[in-house]
Each structure stands twice: as C-alpha cells, then as structure tokens.
Subunit: 348 residues, 2 copies
C-alpha cells in the first residue's frame, strides 16, 4: 500500500530487492522463496521456476552479509602479503585469486608492507569480516597466534612462524641453496658471498643453512665476512654489494637470496663495470623477468609462486572442511634455471 521509498518513486527502484520482494512478486512466502533459490528443501517445480523468474526480473542478489550472519560462516578468505609490487607476492596473490574464483570464494587482500603492526591490523579486519580462513606470508608469529585464538585457520606461505601449529606451503630452501652453492664450489669458487635479507625467518635461515651445508660437504670453510645481511630493499643490497665488490679480495661469486637482492647486486656489478660471469658469477634465489633479459641471463632458482598460491588456497579449504586433520606442510621443489651468469673464477 504505502510507498516507503520516500522521494517520489521513479521508474527505477531506489531500494535493492530483498528476498521478501522476490517472495511477494512470486506470491509465495519468504521460506518458499529461500528454498527455491538455494535448492534446499521441498519446492514444487512450477513454484521454483516462478520464484527464479521473479528473482531474475528484480535483479535480486542475495545479501551475503545476512546469509553469513545467519549461517555463521562465510565464503570470504583473507590474504596478507608483504609487498604486492614484488613479483613473487603478486604472483602468489594471482594464484590464490584464480583458485578462489574457481571455488567460489571471495578474496580479501591486504598488503602489510612488511610491518607487524599492519599485519595485525589486517588480521583484525579479517576477524571482523568473519573470514573462513587466512593465507599469509607472515612477518611475525602474531598473526597466526591472533587468528588461532579466534579459531580461524591459517596457511603460512613462503616462511613459517607458527611451525607445527598451522599448515604451510614452502619451498625446499635449504636443498636449493645447497645445490647451487655446490655448483659454484665445483666451478672452483671459494670466495662465494651470500647476500641475504636476514636469517631469523625460516626462509633466510634455511637458505643460509643450505649455503653452509654445501661448504661443509666440500670440506671448505665459510668465510664469515662474505655472508652479509642486506635488509629488504634494492638500494641497501646495492650498497652492500658495492662494498663487497670493492674489497681488496672481493668474492668471485655471489649468491643473492631473493629477487630484490639480486637486482641490487646486479646493478652494483654493472655500475662498477664488473663483467658477468668472467669477473663474477651470480646466482639468484627467485626468478624475475629481467633475469632472462639482461646479457648474460642470470641463473636463478625459480619458484612457481602462482602454483604456491593455488596450493595455499586448496590447503586452506581442506583445513576448513576438516579442522581436526593433522597439520600439513607442502614443500615445493624449485627448479634451477641455468642462464650463463656462472663460470669458473677468474685466474689471478
């Protein structure tokens, strides 16, 4: 009877259609309309079609908020990465997104810029949104602690902070680092620098462990001054590399522990006019587009970040379905892409 729309009703409905509107249009109760649309429970075929037609005509889109409130479950998942501008994280997010679309989940994404504060803020927003689960490249244990307290499943990717208490998708950091370091040693290198972000996270720890293990295997002592922690940005890596390369007795090879560091090292070498691989061999953990474009190409340990993102979502949904299943860690084996940035050390 009464038009509660206010503002003299135009052609278009100022209010979005609810299931009640659909029910009224189809001349059934809300209950019946709900059954017709969700497919749960008895509905006469003719009625079902009538309801669906009404819904289509009204442009009805069920309110996910209301549905989830009632069902106490949502189809949204949260993702927190450290830096979307880094190809690794972007690809990871792309993998999650693809898979989420297939499984009809919605992705909430937050870029925490590597900050613990923002990481926790993101987690709070996710809890408020009642996400079904969270995928993260953690920067501390706080996120998984917090989410665990709220009973929200978490999958850690790339590195682990909550080892043993949540699922994880990682790569064989130690094995890959060991393999490439061994290759450098075999080529005759002895002064092999390791440029790494830091060694407290599992990634850094394992990559550095692999590096050391290779030396041990070869019976060669690690030169401690050649292991440098260079932080998280290209500029810092650039400076550290410049310092290293200008030592009286510079390294003949550098193993850079991620794509950002590799870029810094490469730029430093280029600016100093150091020729690769004649004067310096370079191997990178993480592949990146530029590594196949510069001459010579850079030999790299390639991680399939998209596949890791897909695996993370798959594991998260498995966990949601079976909360009590044993904790699972999926380990990817990265592949080494040889491109010609390595060779025997220069003779002196």
């Amino acid at each position: 009877m009464s038009d509660r729309q206010g503002a003299a009703s135009r052609d278009e409905p100022p209010r979005r259609a609810t299931i009640r509107d659909v029910a009224d249009t189809a001349e059934v109760s809300r209950s019946t309309a709900s059954r017709a649309l969700t497919g749960r429970g008895y509905v006469a075929p003719a009625v079902r079609d009538r309801v669906r037609r009404a819904a289509r005509e009204l442009g009805y889109v069920p309110d996910a908020m209301a549905r989830h409130l009632r069902q106490q479950a949502s189809n949204a998942i949260g993702v927190v990465v450290s830096d979307l501008r880094n190809d690794f994280y972007a690809s990871l997010a792309a993998g999650v997104s693809q898979q989420a679309r297939k499984r009809r989940y919605t992705m909430l994404l937050s870029d925490d810029g590597g900050s613990t504060v923002f990481e926790v803020e993101a987690a709070e927003a996710f809890v408020a949104m009642r996400v079904a689960g969270v995928i993260t490249t953690p920067v501390s244990a706080r996120l998984s602690d917090y989410l665990a307290r709220h009973r929200i499943p978490v999958v850690e990717v790339d590195r682990r902070f909550a080892a043993g208490s949540c699922d994880a998708i990682v790569v064989d950091n130690e094995g890959a680092a060991r393999a490439v370091t061994a290759q450098l040693l075999e080529l005759g290198h002895r002064r092999i620098a390791l440029v790494i972000d830091e060694t407290h996270w599992t990634t850094g720890r394992d990559r550095s462990a692999g590096y050391r293990a290779a030396f041990e295997d070869a019976g060669v002592a690690v030169e401690k001054s050649l292991v440098v922690t260079a932080g998280w940005n290209t500029d810092d890596a650039y400076r550290e590399a410049q310092r290293l390369l200008q030592l009286a007795d510079p390294p003949t090879a550098i193993f850079a522990a991620n794509n950002v560091l590799s870029e810094g090292v490469w730029r430093a070498a280029a600016d100093l006019g150091i020729r690769i691989p004649r004067d310096l061999s370079l191997i990178s953990f993480d592949d990146a587009p530029w590594m196949s474009m510069v001459r010579p190409g850079i030999t790299a340990i390639a991680q399939d970040a998209v596949a890791m993102g897909e695996a993370a979502l798959t594991q998260l949904l498995a966990r949601i379905e079976a909360p009590q299943a044993p904790i699972r860690t999926v380990m990817f084996t990265p592949t080494v892409v040889h491109r010609g940035s390595t060779g025997p050390p220069a003779k002196r």
Copy 2:
C-alpha cells in the same frame, strides 16, 4: 545458567564473544555496551571504561556482517584488475591497498584475467558483499552497467568504458604518445612502427591517436603496415616484432604501447641480433624494472601506478560521500624517462 556450548566446556570459549557477552560481563544492557564501544550516544565514563575492559578481556571483535546488515552500508570496497602478475596492475592494487588501510576500508580483490565473464562474476560477488564501491580496470562496459544498476559507485582506472557515467583515473595517453613519437620523428625516423594491443579501448585508441597526431604535425604520412595490433601477451608481441624486423624494409624505430609488448619487441630484437639504438630505436609506454637493467636502458613513458591506485580510492570515497557530485576524471601526466634506447636512424 545453562551452558549451551555443548561439548563439555574447556578452558577456552568455543564460541566467539558477542556484544551480549560483553554487556553481561560489564553488567549493562547491549544498548549501553554498543554506545560505549562505538562512542555514539550517552554513556557514563565509568561505565564506558568497564565495558571497554570487558571487551578487551573477552577478545571481543564486532561482527562486521551484523553491523553492516543493520547499517545498510559497508566499509569494504571491491577491486578488479586484469592481471596481477603485470607490474602495472600489481602496483595499482598496492596503491589502493595502502590508501584503503589508511581510510580503514577493507579491500576485496579479484583478478579477472582480462575476461568479461570473470569480470561480471566478480561484480556479482561484490554486490552480494554489499561493497561501498568498486575500482576497476575494465574490460567491457558490462561491469559498470551492472554496478550502476545496483547503485554502486565505480571508478574506472587506466581505460574507460563508461565514459561520462562514472569517475575515472587515467593518464594522458594521447599527449605522451604524441610527444615520444614526435621525438622519434625529429631524430629523423620515418618508418616508426606502433606495436599495440588493440585500438578499441580508450588506452589503445588514444595512444594510437597520439602517434598519428605526431605524424600529422610533422607532415609525414603514417605507413599503415607498420601499425600492428599484437594482442595481450609477450609471445604474440614477440612474433609480430620478429615479422616486422625481418621485413625487406624494416622499421627504424618501434613504439611499443605497453610493458608487455615492449618485452616481446625487445626479446625479438635481441634474438635477431639487432642493436639498440644503432639499428633500432625503441620506446615503451609503461616503465618496468628490466628497462633500466638492460643495456642500453629503454626509454619509457612512466606511469605512477601506485599514485593512480591511491587516487582511485580517494575518488571513490569522495563519490560515496557525495553521490550527486559531478562526474570527475583525474588525468595523470606520465613522465618520459630517457635511457638511451633511441638515436638517429642508421644510414643506408
């Protein structure tokens, strides 16, 4: 009285705390608890503190679903991009994410892979989630049509499909393309190829218009066979560039209309042993990390995608606050980064 938790209550509460739990703990009504927590309405200071303490002790996180259902408004915004693995889109998303965090909005992100079908699917999910607004790099007009019907504000970024009916953040495609094409003409180039994805979208149309305008300004005729549409991936661009460069009378310069195409063109030239800039001048629309790493560096039109993302969010929130304000298009002026991939054409 009765413990409705089922499963013999352990130490930890199996159910998450609601405002009712907070109210009971603080011995006030839900209404008062709500006022104390949101800060709207009268509450005695002592009571407010008691309620807040109770909330903290219980680890209470308000249910965003319930809140938004009641308030009929949400603090989530949707973002649809074409390809997260492309640095441009990833940076755009990073900019939106940063700004969203500052404004306390949550970001729903979907990667549609350039598909209209997935674009519309994403829009449906966003409508279901009752997002406050959507930012998109559209691949058709369907998304903004659909969202307009549901009264959800949209900001188009990079290209426009709903010109005039929604806000947009773009760059001066025509001006920049015209400027660099003019530079090539001034250097003496006459056979300047334009490798472009397609020319129906505003980006392609304007970039190609700028290219043509520069020719017109110089009184030089465009050689139609040198304008090639090369689709959206590196491989296709690679093939097209190979074909171009192997013509009897090949172009002496190429203007590649985005970073993906530039990569394809560069690889093709490299594989054919064509020297830049001696044999070929190359200019790219879009900057990318590799362009400053290869030798010589590639002269590029740099768009600040992060800033565009931030601007998009800012504009979207402005629109949400003032739905009736006049439509606004923000145009960024990209900068040309000269790096040495251009020079005068080789003499024959």
